[in-house]
Symmetry: none
Subunit: 374 residues, 2 copies
C-alpha cells in the first residue's frame, strides 16, 4: 500500500512543513491523498474514470445490459456508487488544496454532470466550464447521434471568495491578443505523442500535452505544486516539468506508473527565458502618480487632457489634479468628469509631447524602467 517510488524527488515548502514533490505515488487515489497534509497543493488536475472498476459497468455501451435487476434499482445503485466515489475523492482533493488553489476536472456527458454537481455540493466554486473541441474526433459510425466531438472541463476554486491564479495576459498572448474563450480547439492525442507499448496504445485515454500546457500556463505559477490523482501515463507531470511547475502523480496501476516515469524523465524543462509569459499589470510594482511629479517627469502646472481633448486638468505639486472645482487623484477626477463609477487615470489622462498626445501610463513605464524595480 502506498508505495512511494524513488524518482528524483524534491521537497517543496508548505507552510511550516515540506512535502515530497516531482514523484509518483503508486496507490489508490483516496488513500494516497489521505496521506498528504492539509492545504499542500496549488492546483489539482483530475481525469477520473467514467466507470468504476469495482462494482460492474456503470455506463454500458448501447444494448449491453445483461443482468436481470430491474432498471430503476440498477440505475440508482450504480449512479449512487459513482457519486460516492466522486464525493470521496473530491472531499480529499479539497482538503489538500490551498485556500487559493483551483481544481480542474475533465469528463464527458457520462460523468461530468455527476462530477459538477458533486463539486458544487462539496463547496467548490465553478469559475468556468471549458469545452475541449476535438479537431479530429472519432465519427459516429452508426449515424444515430451527433458526432461526439468534445469533452468538458470544469475549473473551480476551493470556495466562493478565494483568490485564484489566472494568468490573463498570458492567455491573451496565446490567443493572438484576444481574450481566451471557454471553447478550445485542440487535436486529440495521436502521432508520436501517443505512447505505445509493443505497438498498441499504452493508455486508452491519454490526454494531449497541448491541453495540459494551456491549463498549467493559465492557472499556475512557476514553482507551484500540481497534483494529478489519476495520473495515467503522466501527461500532467511531463508538461509540469517542462513549464517549471512541481508535480505529484497518483496512479494505482504499476504499468502506467512505469510508462509515466520513463516519459517524464525524457521530457526537458524549458529554460527561464522561454518560460516567461506576459505579466499582468496587476502584478507590476505600483507607481504613485506623485512620484512622476517628484521625479520631474511631469511638472506641477502641467496640463493633462483625455484622448479626445474633451476635458483638461492641471497637475498640482502634491500629485493631485484640479479640473474646475474638482480636485483629487487622477482616477477620481477622471471618474467624476465622465460621470463614470470608476476610471483608470493612467490610461485616461494624456499629456502633449512633440505635438502628439501621450498617455501618462507611458510616463509610468519610463519611470519604472529608469528606477528599475523589476
Amino acid at each position: 500500500m502506498g508505495v512511494v517510488l524513488p524518482v528524483k524527488t524534491r521537497r517543496a515548502r508548505v507552510g511550516s512543513q515540506a512535502i515530497a514533490v516531482d514523484r509518483i505515488i503508486r496507490d489508490d487515489c483516496v488513500a494516497a491523498m489521505r496521506a498528504l497534509p492539509d492545504a499542500c497543493v496549488d492546483m489539482i488536475f483530475a481525469d477520473p474514470p467514467y466507470n468504476l472498476q469495482l462494482g460492474g459497468d456503470l455506463f454500458r455501451p448501447e444494448g449491453g445490459r445483461v443482468d436481470a435487476v430491474t432498471d430503476d434499482w440498477d440505475r440508482f445503485d450504480t449512479f449512487a456508487a459513482y457519486d460516492r466515489f466522486t464525493r470521496e475523492w473530491l472531499a480529499e482533493a479539497r482538503r489538500i488544496l490551498k485556500p487559493d488553489g483551483t481544481l480542474w476536472v475533465i469528463g464527458s456527458y457520462h460523468n461530468i454532470f455527476r462530477v459538477g454537481s458533486a463539486l458544487q455540493d462539496e463547496g467548490f466554486w465553478i469559475l468556468n466550464d471549458i469545452v475541449w473541441r476535438k479537431a479530429n474526433p472519432m465519427p459516429n459510425f452508426k449515424g444515430t447521434r451527433f458526432t461526439n466531438a468534445h469533452e468538458t472541463l470544469i475549473w473551480a476554486s476551493r470556495g466562493e471568495g478565494s483568490r485564484y491564479t489566472f494568468n490573463y495576459q498570458a492567455m491573451k498572448a496565446l490567443n493572438d491578443e484576444l481574450q481566451m474563450r471557454s471553447d478550445w480547439v485542440l487535436p486529440i492525442c495521436g502521432g508520436p505523442e501517443r505512447l505505445k507499448i509493443n505497438g498498441t496504445k499504452a493508455h486508452p485515454t491519454q490526454k494531449p500535452e497541448a491541453l495540459l500546457y494551456r491549463i498549467l500556463l493559465a492557472t499556475t505559477k512557476p514553482g507551484d505544486v500540481v497534483l494529478d490523482p489519476f495520473f495515467g501515463t503522466g501527461t500532467t507531470g511531463a508538461v509540469a516539468r517542462r513549464l517549471g511547475r512541481h508535480w505529484i502523480g497518483i496512479e494505482r496501476e504499476s504499468k502506467y506508473v512505469a510508462v509515466a516515469e520513463e516519459r517524464i524523465a525524457a521530457s526537458l524543462p524549458l529554460d527561464e527565458s522561454a518560460m516567461t509569459v506576459m505579466a499582468s499589470k496587476r502584478t507590476q510594482p505600483r507607481v504613485a502618480f506623485g512620484a512622476l511629479v517628484e521625479s520631474g517627469a511631469l511638472a506641477p502646472g502641467a496640463i493633462l487632457c483625455d484622448a479626445r481633448r474633451r476635458w483638461t486638468a492641471i497637475v498640482r505639486a502634491d500629485g493631485s489634479l484640479a479640473a474646475g472645482t474638482e480636485t483629487g487623484s487622477i482616477h477620481k477626477v477622471g471618474a467624476t468628469l465622465q460621470g463614470a463609477p470608476s476610471c483608470n487615470g493612467w490610461t485616461f489622462w494624456h499629456v502633449e509631447r512633440a505635438g502628439a498626445l501621450v498617455a501618462i501610463d507611458v510616463l509610468r513605464q519610463d519611470y519604472l524602467l529608469q528606477h528599475g524595480d523589476g
Copy 2:
C-alpha cells in the same frame, strides 16, 4: 389559473384521445404539465432558469453598466431549492413524453450539472451533450476568467432503450455533407430577430431561431408535437410553425405570452430558399500563433528572424515574442522593430529549418492541414 388562450388551436391525436396543440398555456410549468395526459408529446425543449447568482453591478471598461438577468424567476435561495424545482418539472416532463420521445435542456455551468444529474436520476438517457459556441459572446470585462463563450444543451431519450428520432441525413446535409458534430457555432440572438418593446429587449434570454431550427430539424418529424415548458417569447413555437411541427408553450408571465402570440402569428412557413440560407456557412479557420507553440510545432525558446536576418526574437511559452526589451505578439514586435505602424507577423518572421529560412506562415499551413479545423 391555467388560462388557455384561444389561438388558432388545433387538436392532435394521441392514442385514443386528442390534445389541443399550437397554443400557449399561461400558467406555472409544473401545474400546466400536470393537466396534460401521459405520453402526449414527441419532444420537449426546455430553457429553464439558470440560477445565475450574480453579485453586484458589473461595469464595462468604458463605463457602461451590464444589463444583467436579475429577474425574480431566476432567483433560488440554495442549490437544494433549485434541485427540487428541477426534479419536479423533469418528472412531469418525463410523464407526458411519449416512450420514444426526447428531451432537450439548455443551460450554463451555473445550472447544467444540476439538471444533467437530475435527469439521469429521473431515468432519462443522455444521447448527446451539445455545445452552442457563441460566435459573439459578451467578453469578460475584468480579465478574471476565460470568456464565457458557450452554453450547453443536453439531448436525452425518455429511457435507455427508446427508439428516438434522429434525422441523420438532414443534419449531414446541413453540415456540408459532413456528420453534424456536438459543437455548433451560432450567433447570439440580435438584430431584427431580437424582439423589443419600446426599444428595450422584450426578454433577457431570447434564444436564436437558428438554434431551435437545428434542434427541431434533427430530432422531430413533421406533424410531431413539441412542448416548451419555459416558452418565453416563443422561439420554439415560431420555428415549429415554420417547420410544420405542432407546438405547445407554457409561460407564466402574461407579458411574454402576449409577445409570443404576436410573433408566432407573424411567422411564416418555411420555403426552400430560406432552408438553403440556413445551411451552415463554415467559419474561417483562424490559427493563433500560440497554437503552434502549444502543439509543439514551435518550441518555447525558439529563435525567429526576418527574411534578411536583420532582427531576431525569441518565442515565449505563451506565444508572445521577446526581442530585447520589446515583447508582445508576432505582429506587434515585428511592427515595433521596423518602426512600422503594422506588420503581418506570419510572413515577417521566419525560422530555420534544414539550413533554410521558412516563414512561420508555412508552419501555420501545416498546422491547418494536420488539424483540419472543420
